[in-house]
Amino acid sequence: MTDTPISPAMLAGAAAPVPKEETPFTRFRKAFFEDKVAVAGLILFSIIVALALLAPLITPQNPYDLRSVDLMDSRLKPGSVAGEGFTTWLGTDGVGRDLYSGILYGLRISLMVGFLSGLIAASIGMAVGLIAAYAGGRVETILMRIVDLQLSLPAVLIALILVAALGKGVDKIIFALVVVQWAYYARTVRGNALVERRKEYVEAAQSLGLSNARVVFRHIMPNCLAPVIVIVTVQTAHAIALEATLSFLGVGLPQTEPSLGVLIANGFQYMLSGSYWISFFPGLALLLTIVSINLMGDRIRDVLNPRLEK
């Protein structure tokens, strides 16, 4: 018997409807939203970002405008009424600034510094990782040695020494944060790119005569984005925490651009005397920001990680 008979059943199967193809993003979105906790994180984070963006519109006071700050208002308990007539829902700090306003403005700075440094570090790190993986040979070895060196030293110390040397200021903090973060991206992307490089579509692109740059950035890079996205969330949370730590230690942002860390530091001295809210509320805001980012990042990682897919 050499003829394979076509049974009626097979024909019937061919006429059945084909399920609609889902885009990877749709699949990702569905998987992400399955976890209630991650969704809670997303909601929380959205609220925080919204508050930060709308800060000038929803706060009774601009804490940087020295004319609107009255020393007589200092260390008011949460809920008391300030001299200007508005209620300080979260109390005031040592120089009379409304804490609620201070927190929202501080959030803007903390978020901006965190995100900006994360994006820049990701870009630099990705570029380095891609180049290292694609170029191979000595270029790769040198680049990776630098990455390894950087990664073997703790972030806190590197950042500390850098800002100690460079001084205070937003640009310097962002620089320090970028220096601390890029290596992690570089290593991850390089690992990914090494795997991708061996795949057929790279050969295909090369055989079409595409320039190296185009192959790397148009073809390989998009396939390396998944782990980068995972890292970006976690690293951003770290960057925000690191900036807060540095500011708290007094070597981060200056008093003129108070991030949440600066606010917490300002309140440290008042803790023992009972005005706990000056540190507590900014701390809480910081906490919620970081936790919400981590919750989302965790879920994103679980969804995008092929190994754990059941």
Binding site: M1, P5, S7, A9
Partner: protein, 328 residues
Amino acid sequence: MQGPVIAVENLKTHFLTRAGTVKSVDGISFHVNKGEVLGLVGESGSGKSVTGFSIMGLIDPPGKIVDGSIRLNGKELVGLSEDEMRKVRGREVAMIFQDPMMTLNPVLRIDTQMIEAITAHENVSEKAARGRARDALARVGIPSPDERLSAYPHQFSGGMRQRVAIATALLNSPSLIVCDEPTTALDVTIQSQILAEMQQLCAETGTALIWITHDLTVIAGLAQRVAVMYAGRIVETGPVDALLDAPIHPYTRGLLGSLPSAGVPGQPLMQIPGATPSLARLPQGCAFAPRCTLASDVCRTLAPESLAHGQDRAARCHHPLDAPKVAA
């Protein structure tokens, strides 16, 4: 005459997943006598491995044995508590897995892993247990067993590792060993060696074997009886020679026909058209009907019962080949 070492009656093992209930094993019955080798043959997804795990009581949630009975030496295994089952495992029934690299723990020594198999069931001194392990290794043909005991798994070749697994299985002299494709991952030459050795060992010790495989050629030289599984059911059983010479079920014939050795040189190899059905969405009626050349309307609506076809042969088919139906 002693009863069979193991008698499985209408076993049903289902997996309750979000996508639906997967009926991996849906009502199978067979038995194995002392010293006998039963070949359990089927494609991947036919439920043969799940059968093996069901016997061992290693079905984890969301899987569950929902019906049927498994009697080992007369003792009912279905429904035993985990503690009671643990005492049976490794002692009265042992199992050998497919990939020897992964079945041995890479960070523990061989002697540790063999001795613990003994001490889990008996109260013997470590020295005595080590001696037994050493003897078992020698028996399966591993040279310098004393040195080998102190070694780690990755220092062995694939064939050697599988021999260690076999030796471990034999340590407590079980009545039955379930072998889940133990030679599939090995070199062809090693395969035949191990097959021959196992056959001899079991003949010597009187241990019954259930040999699970997808490869009919393996069964041909090893087993006395064969059970063919398809989509969670046993579609044919019988003595090996009779079954291979004159299959009753169209699927069995398809399997035999698709063997490379059955092909004519120069002609394309015969294949059974279509694919195995999803075990979560089994068709009504005979599961093989969509691929069967003899399928008729009754096949598509009514699932065939297992009917006897002469001494010690049975098949589930509305249109069995050759042998006329005999009233059971």
